[in-house]
Structures are given as C-alpha cells and as structure tokens.
C-alpha cells in the first residue's frame, strides 16, 4: 500500500501541469471553470503531498537520504558513453517540502480568486491566464522537490524561471508616470535575466559534476565513494589555482542558489519582483522560487560537506559569509523602504540569508526548519499586505468615483505613507498580519522564534565547541545574524505601526474596507500555522530533527542565546513602537528615521546603489560589446578602420566628459545620475528595459554610424575581402606562429 502510494509521486507535479494545460487550451473563456480547475489541480497535489508526508513520517528510517529513498524511475537518455537516468523520488527532505509547498500554494490559489477580482465589476482581464501560470509555477516547484537527479531538478528550476518572468511581468501593459520606476515588464525580464546568470553558473557546475561522476542522480552523486573521489581530486583553474573538485562544483551549484534565492550579489531582482500581482509575490517569496535555492543547497549538502575547510574546502565558508552578509545588508535596507511589499521583500532576502548562513555553518536542520516556518509566515505576511493594498485601492476607487476632480497625480496604494489606522477598517487582516510580523520578528512562542533561535544557537555552539571550522566564522555569522534579528524586529514593528496604527493619512485609507472571505480565510489558516509550527521544533522535542536530521547532532538549548535574541527581538519591536507607534505619523510628516540617519538613509533607500553599479559595470559594457561586434560586421572595411577609431575615441571622450559633469553635479543620486548622464544608451535601458535597449542599440548604431552604414553593407566584395584576408591571416598564423608556439 505504502509502496504503491509512493510510486504515484510523479502525479504530484502532473496535476498542476494538467490544470495549466486545461486552462490554456479549454477553460480560459470561463473564469469560474479556470478557478476550479486550478484549485482542483493544486488541491489534488496537496492531498497527495500530505499523504506522502505523513506516510514518510511513519517510515523515517527507510527514507533518510542519500541511501534511503524511494525511487520512481522514469526515463533514460543515453549520452554517448553513459546513460542519463531520470526519475522522481521520495525521501525525508522531499517529504517535508511536500508538507509545505502544496499547502501554501493552495492557500495562495484560494486567495487569488478574491485578489484577482472574481465576481466583482472589474475582474482582471487576464484572470484565467493568471491561474494557468500559477499552476505551471506550482508544477515547477513540486517537480523540483520530487526530482531524483540534478538534471530534472534543473529543468523544473528553469520552468520556474520562465513562470517567474511571465508572472512578475503579468501586468506587462502597466506603466508609471515616473520613468525611473521599474515597470512590471522590465521587472519580469530583470528577474529572468538575473536568475539566469546564476543558472548558467549552476549549469557549468552540473556539467563539471557530470563529467566527473558520469551521473547526475542524487543517489550516485552523494554516495560516499563519489564524494570521497570528488574531495580527493584536484582541479586547476587559471586564477584561483588548485582546489578540490567538490569545492568547485559546490560553489558553482551555490551560484544557482544565489540567483534563485536572491542572495548578494544577485539579489537585485527580488524587490522588483514586487511588480507582479501580490499572490505571485507570496508564491515566489514563500512557497516556491526562493525556497528552491535553499532547497538546492540543502539537497546538495553532502557535497558541501565533502571537503573540510582545512583541506581547501572553502565552499561552506563562502556560503556562510554570503548568507550572513545578505541577512544583515537586506535588513538594513528594509529599514528605509516605504513600499509595504518592498519591506517584506527585503525581509525575505534577509531571512533567506539566515537559512543560507545556517547551512554554511552546518546547521542543516535549523535551516530546513526555518525554511518551513518562514514559508508559512511569509506567505501570511504577503497575502496580508495584498489584502491591505486591495483594501486601500478600493478605498481609492471609491473616492475617485465620488468626485472626479480628486485626482492628485498618481496614487500609490503600496506606499505605507498613504496608509495608517487600518486596524479598525480591516481587523482580520490586521490581526493576522501582526501574528505574522511577530513570527518574523522572532517573538516567543511564535514559529519564527524557534527556528531563528536554533540557527543562532547553532552558530554560538559552533563557535564555542568546534575546531575544524576555525573559530572566527561562526562568531562572525552569529554576530551578523543577531544584529539582523534586532533590525528585523524593528522594521517589522515600523511596518505594523505605519500600516495599522494611528490615523489614516489619506482619504483612500479612510475608505478602505475588509477584503472578501476568500482572501481572509487563507490568512487565518496561515496565521494558525504561523503560531503552531514552531512548537514542533522546540529544542526539547524537535520533530524536524527527527525527520530530516538523523545524520546530524542536535543543537543543545542555550539560554544565553535564547535570552539575548528574545531581548533583542522584543527590544527592537519596542523601539519600533516607540518611534512609530506611540506618536503615529500624520499625513505629510517625514519619517523620523530619515532625520536621524541623514545621508545613510539615502544610501539605504537606494539599496546601496547595487542596481546602478550593475548598470555601470555589466549592462553597459555588454551592450557596447554587442554594438561593437555589430559594427564589425556592418562596417568591416579596413580602409575605414582609421575613421572608425577616430570616431570611437571622439565619442569616448564625449562620454568621459559627461561622466565628469555628472560627478560634479550629482551629490545625492551620484551613481544613478552618472549612469544616466553617461549615454543615451543606458538611459534607454532605464526607460524601456532590455527590450528597449535592443532597439536603443540600433538607434545608437544608426545615429553614430549612419554614414558608415550607407557607404558599406550589402557589398559582396567587402565580404570576400574579409573572408580572404582572414583566411590568409589564419594561414600565416598556422604556418609561421604556431610552430614557434609549440
């Protein structure tokens, strides 16, 4: 019976996939049917997922990875010398993910019905398409967690990447009057491209792994012999010198996780992903996309553990450092954000940093624990914020309908400065949000406290007791994470106070009202889980440890750490209340934090200018390179080379001049302005995103090289000249230079 059920694993991702296909092909004209198809798809996946979970709980000893798992082979692909086997599997980590993913997805699906305006006068015009996309998204995540090999995992990983692009850019026709504000279409593209950077790195890692092991299935890759072999072998790289192969592969795979889980330096896409509909944000931030990165590292944890630090295995140190740094940096940025969803976005990045850092110091169980609890309370917070936005927006519509002359420019329903005093208008949303916030801040005894505490305790324990890791790293991680914990409590309190306490600061907030039951019920259910989930992971009776952590020693309870983090959490929250809650902001009043922090606040508000930096050092050179190569083909005539070099240098000089001006001018928005002043090119990137940039390059090429284009192009002898000259150069090189080189 149990075996037979486990053999049905492949159905779990199939149900949402079928729902996707059904909606796209047949039911899309009917909102009602599309809703039901999507619900039934994820609902069946949920039922099956929980069945698997509870079955696994009774069967822990047979399912502990890597040896013990239940394989469901599917497909074999011969690749020349070897055969690539593909299939699904169930083990304890998968089972735990199956507890979380389909359930949170189900809650989000239910909530989406109300959020996308089902049954109202203005349902979203692409309502059915939305349900199709999120079904595919759920399919991607579910397929990822049940994969038994890195190749299918990667394929589902890419499906999620595609869906994230489609969903973040769901309102692709939306634009803002402020040209600097990112539009949904650009945000989708940004998410897709940024995560792809990580994906490419990961793919290289997978290729390297495959070339070394000849297999990508977890069972083969994480077997003791293979890991031993990978740890023994050394790989020479041009700049870094030699390192164990396992280290190189682990770091490359971690690159994928950095992209998907939005860790520094690839975190930039996640805050902008807020441009998608709120259920999507919840989906990305809680149940699926970002968890996938952490899941990947957890899944590959044996590989990360394969080489100890004193044998050159720096991979865990890298993981720990990036995680801890991200956790702290993101929590500081969150302090200065006013968009209610952006605060949550940075808190997600920060909490993901916690998990990654936890994995980096070896706190495997704590990381997985935090992954689960975080998924629940973060989904709750996002859906709550969506409810708030929904309410405020409706309030705005109501007054806009009342008097038409009321339009005072663009109204932003996401801005917390436009809210306030919503506690009375939306009590259910408010209370569930406060519970979620408490869990995030780590208030006893809510879920977040226990998982966070276990991470901190582990770091402290590691610092005190272990030698092999060096003594510095755990302390460093512990310090960063503790500070981040205090900041988290502070900005959560700030957010709650700004949103729910005091008096409404706008008319829209004054007219807000509670959301429909299909939205508030998921909130209450998630709130329930946000309260109780932590109780299964208390240091005294840690069920998570029993489930996934057989191979790891339990972390003892440390009253010092628990006490300190409680004090910090409560202290942070109280500080937040003192600043924002005791004397609530009135309309038009400046954020006190801005006054106190001065210029630092500007830096935080602009997210440390990382986006601008990327524009300067990545996007622009790439575009320039493309432009250059195009010119190579358009304008390849040697006798015009001189001309071209002259023009290029003149233009470079102009650009440099522009840079100088911008530096002198810009004292506040230094880099942002420089990037814009640098060239029309990057300006176009700003305005229209990558797609616009493609046209933009065309424009620049046309403007810059108009006379050259009219002179050349389409002239076959020109092509021949290039071909013959290149052939002669190659021949000369091979005859005269290569023998010398040999």
């Amino acid at each position: 019976m149990r075996e037979a059920l486990f053999n049905l694993t492949w159905l779990i991702p199939l149900f949402p996939l079928l729902a996707f296909a059904l909606i796209i092909l047949w039911t899309h004209p009917s909102r009602k049917w599309s809703t039901w198809v999507a619900w039934i798809g994820i609902g069946l996946a949920w039922l099956l997922g929980w069945t698997m979970f509870f079955l696994s709980w009774g069967d822990i000893h047979h399912l502990t990875p890597p040896e013990g798992n239940h394989p469901v082979p599917l497909w074999a692909l011969p690749t020349g010398g070897s055969v690539l086997k593909i299939g699904f599997q169930i083990d304890t980590l998968t089972a735990l993910m199956l507890f979380m993913v389909p359930f949170v997805c189900l809650m989000i699906f239910v909530y989406s019905k109300g959020y996308m305006g089902y049954g109202t006068e203005h349902p979203d015009p692409r309502y059915s398409r939305f349900f199709a996309y999120i079904s595919l998204f759920a399919c991607g995540m579910l397929g990822l967690v049940v994969s038994d090999n890195l190749l299918t995992l990667f394929i589902f990983w890419e499906i999620m990447g595609l869906c994230s692009y489609l969903l973040i850019g769901f309102w692709y026709d939306k634009s803002y009057p402020d040209p600097n504000r990112i539009t949904p279409r650009q945000a989708g593209l940004k998410a897709f491209l940024t995560t792809r950077v990580g994906d490419v790195i990961m793919l290289i890692g997978l290729l390297l792994l495959y070339s070394q092991v000849g297999s990508l299935s977890f069972k083969d890759v994480f077997s003791q012999e293979t890991l031993h072999m990978l740890a023994e072998q050394e790989l020479w790289m041009p700049i870094f010198g030699t390192a164990p192969v396992a280290t190189v592969i682990a770091i490359l795979i971690f690159g994928g996780a950095v992209g998907k889980s939005a860790q520094f330096p690839l975190h930039v896409w996640l805050p902008d992903a807020m441009e998608g509909p709120t259920p999507v944000s919840a989906l990305i931030h809680a149940a699926t996309m970002v968890s996938a990165g952490v899941y990947l590292v957890a899944r590959c944890f044996p590989l990360f553990m394969a080489v100890p630090l004193d044998h050159g295995g720096v991979q865990l140190a890298v993981v720990a450092f990036i995680g801890a740094f991200t956790a702290l940096a993101a929590s500081t940025i969150a302090l200065a954000q006013n968009d209610v969803k952006r605060v949550l976005a940075y808190s997600t990045i920060s909490q993901l940093g916690y998990m990654i850092a936890a994995l980096g110091i070896g706190a495997y169980v704590a990381a997985v624990f935090h992954l689960i609890t975080h998924a629940f309370f973060k989904a709750l917070l996002f859906l709550g914020s969506g409810s708030v936005i929904h309410g405020v927006e409706h309030g705005h519509h109501k007054i806009a309908h009342g008097h038409h002359d009321h339009e005072e420019g663009h109204f932003d329903p996401n801005d917390m400065m436009n809210m306030g005093g919503l506690m009375n208008k939306m009590p259910r949303t408010a209370w569930t949000f406060i519970i979620g916030g408490g869990a995030l801040a780590g208030i006893v005894p809510l879920a977040g406290f226990w998982s966070k505490d276990e991470i901190l305790a582990h770091a402290w324990h590691e610092f005190q007791h272990t030698q092999h890791f060096g003594t510095f790293w755990p302390l460093f991680v512990w310090l960063l994470l503790t500070v981040a914990a205090a900041l988290t409590a502070f900005y959560t309190a700030r957010q709650i106070c700004l949103t729910f306490l005091g008096e409404p600061r706008t008319e829209a907030a004054r007219h807000a009202h509670e959301s429909p039951p299909s939205m508030t019920w998921p909130l209450m259910i998630l709130a329930f889980f946000a309260v109780i989930l932590g109780l299964f992971g208390t240091p005294w009776a840690n069920q998570y440890h029993e489930l996934v952590g057989e191979a790891f020693a339990a972390t003892p309870f440390d009253p010092f750490v628990a006490g300190l983090s409680t004090v910090l959490a409560v202290g942070g929250a109280v500080c937040g209340w003192l600043v924002y809650g005791r004397a609530p902001l009135r309309a038009g009043q400046v954020d006190p934090l801005k006054r106190w922090l001065g210029p630092v606040h500007g830096v935080l508000e602009n997210k440390y200018y990382v986006d601008e930096l990327y524009r300067l050092i990545v996007i622009r050179p790439v575009l320039r390179l493309a432009e250059l190569c195009a010119k190579f083909d358009y304008d390849w005539v040697i006798n015009r080379l001189v001309n071209t070099i002259g023009q290029l240098s003149i233009r470079t000089a102009e650009r440099l001049g522009g840079l100088d001006l911008a530096v002198v001018d810009g004292t506040v928005n230094l880099v942002g302005r420089a990037a814009r002043g640098l060239s029309t090119l990057s300006n176009t990137v700003d305005l229209k995103g990558v797609d616009g940039a493609v046209n933009g390059i065309g424009h620049v090429v046309k403007a810059g090289g108009r006379q050259m284009r009219t002179l050349q192009s389409g002239w076959v002898q020109d092509y021949l000249l290039l071909a013959v000259t290149m052939a002669i150069i190659l021949l000369g090189f091979m005859l005269l230079v290569l023998p010398i080189l040999r």
Binding site: L207, L208, Y210, A630, D633, D718, A723, A727
Partner: protein
C-alpha cells in the same frame, strides 16, 4: 566484383532522384497550366522512392568505383537528411510561387537535383567527387536563390551568392590541388595514409595550407565566420522555402563533407585544424548571435541564428578526438543536425505562412500573431525554444550531447562560451516572441494556413519535441551512423 545491376542498386537513391527530376521537367512541359499542381506531389513521390532506396542501403558498407564513392551508414544518414529536408521544403513551397513566377516545375526539378548533390556529397570519398558534387550543389543553389527574376532582391541575392561561392570554391579547389600535390593522390583514404607517414616540419606546410583553403570552401557551405557574410543577404533575398533549405540541407551537406574530408584525409593534422576549428566556432557563434540582435527582418534574423548554430555544431568537430570522443562527438553532430533540421524548417514554415498572409518578412509584422493564429504562435514558440536550446526540444538534446563531448575533453572554455552565447540568443528570440504574444496586432485579420503547410508544421513540431522526448532511438541512430 560487382555486376552492373548491383551497382545500380547501390546508387539507387541517386538515380531515382535524377529520374524524378527529369520526370518533373518533362511533365512540366507536357501537363499544361491547369495540372501544374501535380508536380510537387510527383517530386514527393520520387523522394519517397529515394527514401525507401536509401533505407534499404542501411548496414551496407561498400566502396564503389575504386573507392570514389562510399556507401556506409554515415552516407545513408545524410541521404535521409537530404530527402527529409527536400520533401518538407517542397511541401512548404506548394502555393508559395503563386503570383511570383509562372515557372514552378523547374523549381522542383532543380531542388531534386540539389538533393541529389547532397546525397553524392555524403558518399564522396575522392577529391574529384567532392569537388564536382559541391559544384552541383552550389550551381543549383545559385539558380534557386535567383529564381524569382521579377524580384530584385532575389536576383541580387543570386548574384551575390554566385560571386561569393565561385570565389570560395576556387580557393577550395586550389587547396585540393595542394593536397593532391602533397600526396599524389585524390583518394581521401589514400591521402590520409600518405600524410600519416609524412615526417619533418616542412612536410606539414602544404597540407596546412590546404586545410585552411579547404575550410574556406566548407566554411562557406556551413556559413561559419568569417565566411558567413553571404548568408544573411542570400536568405533574405532567396525564395523563403529555398532559404529554409539552405539553412538545413545545404548546411548539413557542408558538415557531411567537412567531417568526411577532415576525419578520413586529415586526422593526423588534428593538432593543426583543432585550433582553426575552435577559433571559427567561437567567432561564428558569437558573431551570429550578437548581430542577430539587430535584425528587423525575420529571415535575416534566422540567417544569423543559423550561423550561430553552425558555431555550436563546430564544437563537435573541435571535440573530435580519436581516442576519447571519436564516435561520440560525431554522433552529437549528426543528432544536432537532425534535430536542427526539423526545428529550423518549422521556424521557416511559420515565416512562410506569415509571409503569404502579410506579404513581408518584417519582425514588426509578427505583433499579435497569437491573436491572428494561435497555432502558428505556439509553433513558433516551440521552435524558438528549441533554437535557444531549452528542454524538452530536440536542439537542447543536441547541445547536451555536444557539450558532453566538450566536457569529456575538458574544453570547459568552449562550453562556457557556448552557454553565454545561449543567453545572448535568448535576447533576439525573445524579441520576436514578445511581439507575437504581447503586442497588439496591426491587423486583426486571422492568418489562414494552407493544408501542405499544416502538414509541414505538424511534422516539424512533432519531431522537434519527439527528438527530445523520445531521444533514445534518435541518439542510437546517430551513434550507429557515426562511422567514417
């Protein structure tokens, strides 16, 4: 010693194609205008017969005419590719010439001769045979490119193609004479044997010069940089079905002969041509992908994309190593060519369908295609996925196999360059798809697709997905065909 009837049996695909071409020509003269519509189907019948004949040759391993002409699985594989490509192109061209030219029969006849040339090329094992077969392919290609004499673009493309091709083949011929001079033989196997006995630094010079000059000709055929510049102009000007044929059939033939010559005559010079092929490969994919970004005409864009694909395929040749990856890398190339055949023909078929409804090939005309014909849009989406190399599509598996060969030899740099190129290529495929799916159409009128085009679309779509989902038989086919 084979008797004449046996020989006729062994070269059956070739003479069947020739007879079919003659038959089409003769019927074109006798049938009259109203029954002209039969001609493509007669051509298809001939191709079907040729396909049966080729399949019957599977597992034969014969050298005919004193080793001039080899019949082995490699040759049969390319015979199948030639027949498939020609058949699909003929189907896709039914109705295409309506109102463009009154002469339709000659197109099919010449296309059959082109297919014949590819089958000859796949079997050629002697420089004389290689040269004459390449020339048959080239001369018919020039004609078919300039076929629409009322269309200025078409004649211009034909003349450019001719001038470029004539110069490239003259250079290639000069290289062949040098190879003949170095060994005293024109037979590829014998050349290989003689060269393997050569010693001393000076003795390498003549073959190396020959290698570079041969690569000019073969690089021209497969459109590898820097011998690629004819391709965009020719693809844009040529009748679209023939552009489709050039991008798959002609390219496959180029790779067939490239592999045959380099691996049978020049394996001992691998150290020399490895550097050359690697350079060309990197240059080809990078240039192709970067310049494709700027294209406004979809045929030009597909031309640059097919240039880039040639770059990926060249990786397979660069990764040929008699000990480590011998058959594996060859089979990767063969599989790639097969998957690419269906994918690219499919993409071109969508272009043909749109061109017939809209009249132009501007990418901007693809705006809102999903509303005008969702099936076309969906098909284009799948083909582009495949061209980018995203699973579950054929070219993805092809890339996987090629990269596997590269990784086995630890040529990580090549793989990384190819992967980065894959990301760049997303850029322009996405540009088209964005218009197809997200922009509003200028004209809401639905686009009708004729039945032959539907058949081509269905076949290419099924095979694009099928070569990935049921990859094993195809991979096995490629592996068994990779004997040289």
């Amino acid at each position: 010693m084979l008797i004449a009837s046996q020989i006729l049996g062994l070269i059956a695909p070739q003479w069947i194609l020739l007879v079919a071409a003659m038959l089409v020509l003769a019927l074109d003269l006798t049938l009259g205008e109203e029954r002209e519509g039969w001609l493509p189907y007669i051509a298809l019948l001939g191709l079907g017969a040729a396909l049966v004949a080729s399949l019957s040759l599977w597992n034969r391993q014969v050298a005919l005419f004193e080793g001039l002409f080899l019949i082995d699985r490699f040759a049969v594989f390319f015979q199948i590719i030639a027949v498939l490509a020609t058949g699909l192109v003929i189907l896709a061209s039914i109705g295409y010439f309506e109102g463009k030219t009154p002469y339709k029969g000659q197109f099919y006849a010449l296309l059959l001769v082109t297919a014949l040339a590819i089958t000859l090329l796949a079997s050629a094992a002697d420089l004389v045979m290689v040269f004459i077969s390449i020339e048959v392919l080239s001369v018919t290609s020039y004609t078919l490119t300039g076929y629409l004499i009322a269309d200025r673009k078409s004649t211009e493309a034909g003349l450019k193609f001719f001038l470029y091709g004539a110069a490239a083949s003259a250079i290639m011929l000069y290289g062949m004479t040098l190879l003949y001079g170095a060994t005293g033989s024109t037979n590829l196997a014998e050349i290989g044997r003689t060269l393997s006995l050569a010693s001393g630094e000076g003795s390498r010079w003549l073959p190396i010069a020959a290698i570079v000059m041969l690569l000019v000709g073969f690089g021209f055929k497969v459109s590898a940089a820097p011998f690629h510049q004819w391709a965009p102009d020719v693809y844009e000007g040529a009748p679209t079905p023939f552009a489709a044929f050039l991008s798959v059939g002609s390219k496959a033939a180029g790779f067939a002969i490239l592999l045959r010559v380099f691996l049978t005559a020049l394996p001992d010079f691998r150290v020399d041509w490895f550097a050359l092929v690697t350079t060309l490969s990197i240059a080809t994919m990078t240039l192709g992908n970067l310049i494709a970004i700027f294209q406004e005409n979809i045929k030009r864009m597909l031309a640059y994309s097919s240039i880039a694909q040639a770059g990926y395929i060249l990786i397979g040749l660069a990764c040929w190593d008699p000990q480590a990856t011998g058959r594996e890398s060859i089979s990767a190339i063969l599989f790639y060519l097969l998957a690419y055949l269906f994918t690219n023909l499919g993409a071109f078929t969508v272009v043909i369908a749109v061109e017939r409804a809209v009249g132009t090939n501007e990418i901007s005309d693809y705006a809102g295609l999903i509303r005008r014909n969702p099936w076309l849009a969906a098909a284009l989406f799948v083909f582009f996925l495949s061209l980018v190399g995203i699973p579950p599509t054929g070219v993805f598996v092809g890339k996987l196999l090629i990269f596997a060969a590269a990784v086995r030899l630890e040529y990580y740099a090549l793989v990384i360059v190819a992967l980065i190129n894959g990301v760049i290529s997303l850029y322009y495929y996405y540009g088209v798809l964005r218009r197809v799916f997200f922009l509003a159409p200028r004209d809401e009128a639905p686009i009708a697709v004729s039945t032959p085009l539907r058949v081509v679309l269905a076949v290419t779509l099924i095979m694009t997905l099928g070569t990935a989902i049921f990859a094993q038989p195809f991979i096995r086919l490629a592996l068994t065909s990779a004997v040289l």
